[in-house]
Symmetry: C2
Subunit: 233 residues, 2 copies
DNA sequence: CCGAATTTGTCCGTATGTATA
DNA sequence: TTATACATACGGACAAATTCG
């Protein structure tokens, strides 16, 4: 019964996956422990560990100390959405990138934004609006608030030449974030920018980023009509 | 200057990340090889390897044999979008799940679908339409095509009691996939289902899944107005 | 075009730590 | 409390890939 081949961790992973696919090990079932599998496969326990750890990270297995390893009940998929710089996103679409700063001022953000920037009432923040274009045509509109308490340098940066998008990834790398994708009806402003009917549905991506628990920025990106986000499972 | 602390791979990872954050190691720069770092940190090379591999998978580092390890030029973020069962998605919203099959028939799919199912012209496929509801109100409409050549059992399954969504994850686990997110204007049908104006923008998620290069299914999910997809960076 | 050197990738066997049933 | 199973560490070794002379 033993193929006895997989001396590599990828081989072990493939064999384990095969047993799950064929329901030899059914969802919810416990599988043998690392030591036993190492004996069966004729490899070191560390090799089995590497394979099982990989499958656990992929969501195929669930592991707990002492409880052992079991096949995940729902092969809960996760899709990975790439978040490139807007410049790269437009370049990947085969278009020439263009950028224009529309507005820059410090002001008191509206309550929902103030909450997400973790600011005290009455505190001001930096508000930027900008337009990113592809081959000269509007591609995505940016509406951003920056917490100047967390990123004081932002007050002195010149966002007419470099977009806040690019400035921030250099100034504050390794930020954590949260993304919300929704549909918004075009107001008169967006309708004018994108040349669509007011009320038309536009794809909106809102990102909130922070680092070490300190809020950095909140940005809403409104894409031109017909834009699609693509993700690999 | 050596903190000499990190005896664990997480410690090594933290220290490396700190050096990148502080631009001690700048984007594009090569960093010392594993052996040297192991000496500096006073740990085994395997421990350094574990840390650097983790950072590489996170997109922070780029590694190539012989060429060495360098700091990634663009901290290209990736967001992870959870893809739960629709049942779970609705349950997580705190709503009671409901399901109703609207239509089930075999037919020749339209060309775009036929392409993505990798079917020869004139070949038939299984076409399902269904409605998933939360607390009795329509939540998401499903329009699915199943390649019966790849999944012959689908012809005999009863999708009035179990949604194709749930049936497929059990029948064909570990499928690969591709997801596209876009906005679609509500037609008269969707407007009637969701009680919105015709032409209103609705969030649409299209998934294509396959396994071992064989196309399984193509599904378009149209969500009720106001729905938001949330993702962690 | 072809070796040689370098660097990462992975394996082994063992040992210890740690969460938990 | 104790035994179990996973998590991770070490050092040594070889393989594989790629750069470079």
């Amino acid at each position: 019964m033993s193929l006895a081949q997989p001396a590599t961790w990828q081989g072990v992973r493939a064999e384990v996956q095969r047993r799950i696919r064929t329901h030899q090990w059914a969802p919810g079932d416990p599988i043998p422990n690392e030591a036993d599998l190492a004996v069966e496969f004729g490899c070191a326990r560390a090799t089995v560990n590497r394979a099982l750890r990989d499958l656990a990270q992929a969501g195929v297995l669930e592991r707990k100390r002492k409880a052992g390893t079991r096949v995940a009940v729902n092969p809960a998929g996760r899709a990975v959405l790439r978040i490139p710089l807007i410049r790269d996103e437009i370049a990947e679409a085969g278009l020439a990138y263009g950028y224009r700063l529309l507005g820059s001022r410090t002001a008191c953000p509206p309550d929902p934004v103030r909450d997400r920037l973790d600011l005290a009432p009455g505190t001001q923040a930096l508000h930027l609006t900008a337009l990113h274009s592809g081959d000269g045509a509007p591609f995505v509109a940016e509406d951003r608030w920056i917490n100047t308490a967390t990123v004081p340098d932002a007050s002195r940066a010149d966002f007419t030449v470099q977009s806040a998008n690019e400035w921030l990834v250099r100034a504050m790398p390794f930020a954590e974030g949260r993304i919300e994708i929704s549909v918004v009806a075009a107001g008169s402003e967006m309708a004018a920018i994108f040349g669509c009917d007011p009320g038309a549905g536009l794809l909106r991506v809102e990102r909130q980023t922070w680092r070490d628990g300190r809020q950095i920025t909140v940005v809403a990106l409104t894409y031109r009509p017909g834009h699609r986000l693509v993700s690999q499972l």
